[in-house]
């Protein structure tokens, strides 16, 4: 669906995107994860024909993004980082115009607009100027606009940046639904580790214009090792005894190590046999944070989101 080979974009002396190669399969959700300025948006702009690559080659839906830009545009849907909405027009007017620009007849465009308004739950607000919409409604309208011509590949550039948690989850659900119900291939960029983890089948981590690692969330996490267990005891002697049973050392009253050959049950049974009772015991999955630190040597400074 998307094939990218050694794609480069330089602005003056700076390489915003530096020899990036990857491929996205049909029906997949693929995430580009990286901090601000990593080259995510520039990549999207090149793949969607808005910006010409300095070097390299890219194909979307089998069409070359430079030589067949019109075919590319007809087959893709794009939601850029800023929502692309004229505030003076109503939601319905924007959707109908969009349909007409994608060669639909007036009746077809009107019917499609009605459908999409229902899908993104904007039927009631349809005839109000979009300038009066809330942030979440505007994103939903923006998403609807990208779907007008039933694209098979969808590009979402930071679809939830700046949204509150509730609207974010709405967008996540919408993205999943598009992928599952219509089999739409989705390329999304995000600076939120949780978002990539939550939505994407495969993730490419991009930093300073280069892809530093690629794989499923689990594959990436395996790079930094498996689950770790952390326990806290009332006194240091207990902690020491517990640590020794697994061949590790305690740090004061705390013990933590990578589980590796043990299962959580092994640990609990072993502690129980020795009559040891930790005050607190937690098992932690490695996060994409850890992955980012490991593959780039830098700690992650992207956005933080809390979803409870």
């Amino acid at each position: 669906m998307i094939e990218v080979e050694s794609l480069v974009k330089t602005y003056g002396e700076v390489a915003a995107v530096d020899e990036v190669s990857f491929s996205v399969r049909e029906g997949e959700i693929f995430a580009f994860l990286g901090p601000n300025g990593a080259g995510k948006s520039t990549t999207v702009q090149m793949l969607t024909t808005l910006v010409r690559p300095t070097a390299g080659r890219a194909e979307v839906n089998g069409f070359d993004v430079v030589k067949q830009e019109k075919d590319v545009r007809l087959s893709i849907g794009v939601a850029l980082q800023e929502t692309g909405i004229d505030k003076v027009l109503t939601g319905r007017e924007l959707l109908v115009l969009q349909g007409r620009l994608f060669k639909m007849s007036k009746e077809e465009a009107e019917k499609r607009a009605e459908e999409l308004l229902a899908i993104v739950s904007l039927t009631e607000a349809a005839d109000r100027r979009s300038g009066t919409y809330s942030g979440g409604m505007r994103r939903r309208l923006d998403l609807a606009l990208t779907l007008v011509h039933r694209p098979t590949v969808l590009f979402l550039d930071e679809p939830t940046t700046g949204l509150d948690p509730a609207s974010r989850i709405e967008i996540w659900n919408e993205v999943r639904r598009l992928n599952q119900e219509f089999g739409t291939t989705i390329f999304l960029t995000t600076q939120y580790l949780e978002e990539a983890d939550e939505l994407a089948d495969r993730i490419a981590i991009i930093n300073h214009g280069k892809i530093v690692s690629e794989g499923t969330a689990d594959e990436l996490k395996r790079l930094v090792g498996g689950e770790t267990i952390a326990m806290a005891f009332q006194d240091a002697t207990d902690a020491k005894r517990a640590a020794e049973r697994f061949g590790h050392e305690a740090e004061g009253t705390n013990v933590s190590f990578e589980l590796k050959q043990y299962t959580l049950m092994d640990v609990i049974r072993s502690l129980d046999e020795a009559g040891l009772q930790p005050e607190r015991l937690t098992v932690k999955q490695p996060s994409l944070d850890d992955v980012f630190l490991k593959v780039t040597g830098e700690s992650y400074e992207g956005g933080e989101i809390r979803v409870d």
Binding site: R73, I76, V78, E82, G84, I85, V88, L97
Partner: protein, 256 residues
């Protein structure tokens, strides 16, 4: 491409109508110019170089053209708003051609100037305007006004796309205001005394628009030579500006 252009034109017209303050002040200023110039300067028309024509007929083109310059600036500003809202990027992502995307707002700008010109004419008629050659005088003046307006709207669209800044787009059109006055604005060329101003007026395209309009407004018979020169200048300007605007459409999304 024509369907697309029409769709973009319709959309721009809708946007203009919903933002009445984007055109009302400009219209008021044009009418104000007309009133002030006519009442303040009308006695110069008794000079022989005016060949007996009324000063109102002579000055009317100035009001129309300065209104066109101001109004066309609004076209560029509307485009800057689109770039800032991200809507322009969405339009670039449709299969619509770049030319249609910039031509739509230009045509809408031109239609706005058409209505504006009609309104200025109505005020002039109220002030007692009579056109010696009759209806063709009216028709060709309007034609020249919208031709010049289309060119100017293209200029402002091009500047807007190049700078992506509303102030710069406005400043770009303000730079053109001197052109209106470095011309046969208030008196015929024979009456201009400063040699440099005569030279400037000769090279100034606005001069030919003025002369073209006056060729059908002030004379007892149409001066076809001056009229064709005016129409040719308006046509050429429009074409050059459409190309200027369209070639800038792609660059509009370059990172700042």
């Amino acid at each position: 491409m024509w369907t697309e252009t029409w769709l973009f034109t319709k959309r721009s017209l809708l946007t203009t109508i919903r933002n009445p303050f984007s055109f009302i002040p400009n219209l008021l200023i044009s009418v104000f110019f007309l009133l002030v110039y006519t009442s303040g300067l009308s006695s110069v028309a008794s000079l022989p170089q005016f060949e007996g024509s009324d000063y109102l007929n002579f000055i009317l083109p100035v009001s129309i053209v300065s209104g066109a310059v101001g109004g066309a600036g609004g076209t560029g500003q509307a485009l800057v708003r689109d770039i800032e809202s991200g809507y322009f990027a969405r339009l670039l992502l449709t299969p619509a051609t770049r030319t249609a995307i910039v031509l739509g707002p230009m045509i809408a700008g031109m239609l706005q100037l058409f209505v504006q010109t009609l309104l200025i004419f109505s005020v002039a008629f109220l002030l007692g305007l009579t056109i010696p050659v009759g209806a063709p005088g009216f028709f060709f003046t309007v034609l020249l006004a919208i031709g010049f307006g289309l060119g100017f709207a293209g200029y402002s669209v091009g500047v807007a796309l190049k700078t992506r800044n509303a102030q710069a787009a406005q400043a770009g059109t303000l730079l053109f205001f001197p052109l209106i006055f470095l011309s046969t604005t208030f008196v015929p060329k024979e009456l201009i005394e400063a040699e440099w101003l005569k030279v400037a007026a000769t090279f100034n395209p606005t001069t030919y628009i003025f002369e073209g309009m006056r060729a059908v407004l002030t004379q007892p018979e149409i001066d076809w030579g001056a009229l064709s020169a005016g129409l040719a200048v308006a046509g050429t300007m429009s074409l050059i500006m459409i190309v200027f605007a369209a070639t800038n459409a792609r660059g509009a999304l370059k990172q700042k």
